[in-house]
């Protein structure tokens, strides 16, 4: 873990709430470190642990799934499914010994630009301290 390690973090954001919240952070000019890359989906329920595991085993240092607050999903129930899947993935990653900070779920509404910025900064700082994702070693994608 050299001083120059900067984590690469994948963020899935749902179109109706969290992507809009990320936009709000941009509009408000909240500055953040440049480690995240956002992928837009219509609902956090589109995300399955297979994709998250693919990201982690291909060397991405952390994955964050953002969705609407439970009860506010634009599609009524989508984020309830996201929540259950995330709980199972948490348990699976814990069983395998993968650091829990490398997969996080956060609920961000369209108005919560500040919360988005704070969450992103927190995730980047935490994962930077953890160091490179050990699962990425064999792919040779681990950042030096």
């Amino acid at each position: 873990m050299t001083a120059s390690f900067e984590p690469r973090i994948l963020v899935f954001a749902c179109n109706w709430c969290s992507y809009a919240g990320a936009d709000m952070a941009g509009v408000s000019r909240f500055q953040m470190p440049p480690n995240c890359r956002v992928v837009r989906v219509m609902c956090s329920a589109r995300i399955k642990p297979d994709q998250i595991l693919a990201a982690l085993t291909r060397g991405i240092d952390a994955v964050v799934v953002l969705g609407c607050h439970p009860g506010d999903c634009h599609y009524a129930e989508g984020n309830y499914h996201t929540r259950r899947r995330a709980l199972v993935l948490d348990a699976l990653l814990a069983t395998l010994g993968v650091e829990k900070e490398r997969f996080q779920v956060r609920w961000i509404s369209a108005a919560e630009g500040a919360k988005f910025a704070a969450a992103i900064r927190e995730v980047i700082d935490t994962v930077r301290d953890l160091g490179p994702n050990p699962l990425g070693r064999s792919h040779g994608t681990q950042a030096s």
Binding site: A54, R84, V88, L89, A91, T95, K100, L135, H139
Partner: protein, 285 residues
């Protein structure tokens, strides 16, 4: 009981419209028994029942989709749970089956004597309507966990990762675990797909971790703990430790009695509660 099993099978196969009876026959070598699909009533005498009848015959049921005729099948407690799950997932219609419950009180381990590691923490399905039984189908009183099993809970995350990687590094990606598992019945498995190409044949620990992690997730809430995966593995990977640990977490998280245990229970990943706990990092909703 073995005699009764043969009688039942013989009677069943003599009826009109029956296709076959799935059971176990004697096999040479350490294995002791192996699955057999009997079509002719005259061959029912090949059926055996003993502490080495490990095979989960329910795993063969999906291949009968699209065919006609009723199927007889002998099931132990764990197998019956798998069968119930298959019926729920529409892989076989209950009306096509003639289910014979075999009251297993624990299978033999590799030495032929001790208890097989899969039998620890055995749970029979509740309220299962068998078409015939060889005895009362109740959960035997068996110890919860082998004392020499790796205790993942007692390890630190670092130790657990070391254990996972060491264990999974043995994997030779032969897919036997997937083939043996009753719950793996997808016509085209994600690991066989080329679009998208989820996994390569590269022999890296990352690929192996991905394979087993995804398989464990696909089985979350559906694994019945039959350890056919572990039994099939030529490299001796402790898949049972991984899958059972996850099964236990799922049961605790969602107050779930276990795959195929309660009649009509929906696997936790296909349902939700508005007040489910929060995933990491949790905190305010």
């Amino acid at each position: 009981m073995e005699r009764r099993l043969r009688e039942i099978a013989r009677e069943f196969l003599a009826r009109p419209g029956t296709l076959c009876f799935l059971g176990w026959e004697a096999a040479p070598g350490e294995r002791g028994t192996r699955p057999i699909e009997i079509r002719d009533a005259g061959r029912a005498d090949l059926l055996v029942w003993n502490r080495r009848c490990h095979a989960n015959l329910a795993a063969y049921l999906p291949r009968f989709r699209g065919s006609q005729g009723s199927i007889g099948i002998a099931v132990k407690g764990c197998d019956a749970r798998a069968l119930r799950e298959l019926v729920r997932a529409r892989q076989i219609e209950r009306e096509r089956l003639f289910v014979v419950g075999v009251p297993c009180a624990g299978l033999a381990g590799p030495d032929g004597e001790s208890l097989a590691r899969r039998c620890h923490g055995c749970r029979y399905p509740e309220g299962f309507a068998y078409d015939a039984t060889l005895g009362p189908m109740v959960t035997p009183d068996l110890p919860p966990r082998p004392t020499d099993d790796p205790d993942l809970d007692a390890m630190s995350p670092d130790e657990r990762l070391r254990w996972s990687e060491e264990e999974l590094s043995r994997c030779i990606r032969c897919d036997a675990c997937r083939k043996a598992c009753y719950g793996c019945f997808c016509p085209e498995c994600v690991f066989e797909a080329s679009r998208p190409r989820w996994i390569s044949r590269r022999d890296t620990i990352a690929e192996k971790l991905f394979y087993h992690a995804v398989r464990a997730y696909h089985l979350a809430g559906r694994c019945v703990g039959c350890d056919e995966c572990g039994r099939a593995c030529p490299a001796g990977v402790r898949l049972d430790v991984l899958n059972r640990a996850l099964a236990r977490h799922v049961e605790e998280l969602f107050a779930f009695s276990g795959a195929g245990v309660a009649e009509g229970a929906v696997p936790p990943l296909l349902a939700f509660e508005p007040d489910d706990p929060e995933p990491y990092p949790g905190g305010e909703r």
